[in-house]
C-alpha cells in the first residue's frame, strides 16, 4: 500500500514530503520513546507519534520510515518541518488519537496483504 492511499483514507494533512507519497508503506510502528522506535521499528514503516520536535526527523531518516503521522492534530514544530522538508520525510497530521490512527492504518495494510 502506498502512503497516498493512507493519506486519503484517513484524510491526513500533508505537511511535508508531498513528492514521497507514492512510496510503499510496509508496516507501522506507534511510540513516543525514541529509543523504542529506533530499536523496534522497521524500514518502510509509517511511524505514529505525539512527539513534534525535530529529533523525530532524524529517527525517521535513520530508520528509513515511509513517513510520520502526528496524532491529536499536533503540528510539527517549525524546525521540525524545516528539517523534514530538507530531508524529504513526509509529515502527516491526523485529528484522531494514536489508538485510532494505529487501528485504521493496521486494518488498511492488513486488507492489502
Amino acid at each position: 500500500m502506498d502512503l497516498e492511499s493512507i493519506v486519503k483514507a484517513l484524510n491526513l494533512k500533508v505537511r511535508s514530503g508531498e513528492d514521497k507519497l507514492k512510496s510503499e508503506v510496509r508496516g507501522g510502528y506507534t511510540g513516543d520513546l525514541l529509543s523504542d522506535v529506533m530499536a523496534n521499528s522497521k524500514e518502510g514503516d509509517i511511524w505514529i507519534t505525539r512527539q513534534v520536535h525535530q529529533n523525530i526527523v532524524a529517527v525517521a531518516s535513520l530508520k528509513e520510515h515511509a513517513g510520520i503521522v502526528l496524532v491529536q492534530d499536533s503540528e510539527p514544530a517549525k524546525d521540525t518541518l524545516e528539517k523534514a522538508i530538507k530531508e524529504g520525510i513526509p509529515i502527516l497530521v491526523s485529528d484522531l488519537s494514536g489508538f485510532e490512527v494505529t487501528a485504521r492504518i493496521y486494518n488498511l495494510i492488513k486488507k492489502t496483504d
Partner: protein
Amino acid sequence: MDEKPLYDGSFSVVGGNFDNAGEVSSSIKTILKKIGLPSDIIRKAALVAYESEINIVSYARKGMIRLRVSPECIMIEAIDEGQGIPDIDLAMQPGWSTANQKIREMGFGAGMGLCNIKSFSDIFNISSEVGKGTHLKMIIKTNSNSLQ
C-alpha cells in the same frame, strides 16, 4: 584490523545540543552505505551510533564518535568528557535513567539506550570515570566468519 581500514574517522558531538542530534549518526550511515555494507549491518551500526550520540548530547559536555571500518567489522567508539557513570551495572539495567524532565519530554531518557547499544553490538565495552567521562567501544561484525 591490521590491514588498511576501509574508513577511519572521528566526529565531534556537542553536549546539550539537541538541535543537531542525530547528524553524526546520519553521516556514519551515509559512509557505511557508500562502502556498500549489507543493510542489516548498517541498521545495527546506525542504531549504535545514534544511541551513543544521544547519550553524549544528553549527559556530557562534549565528546566524539570514532568510526573505523575494516573488511571484517565496524568499530564505533564514543568517548565523552562529562559526569561519568558511578555505577555501570545500574546504568545497564533496562529502564534505569538519570535523565531530567526536559530530556524525558522529548522521548529520550527511557533507560533503553545503553541496553540497545549492547544488544545491537557483537562486542560491547564500557568504562567510565566519575567527573571525567565515559568510553564506549562497540564492534559489529560485517560477516559471520569474522571475530569468532
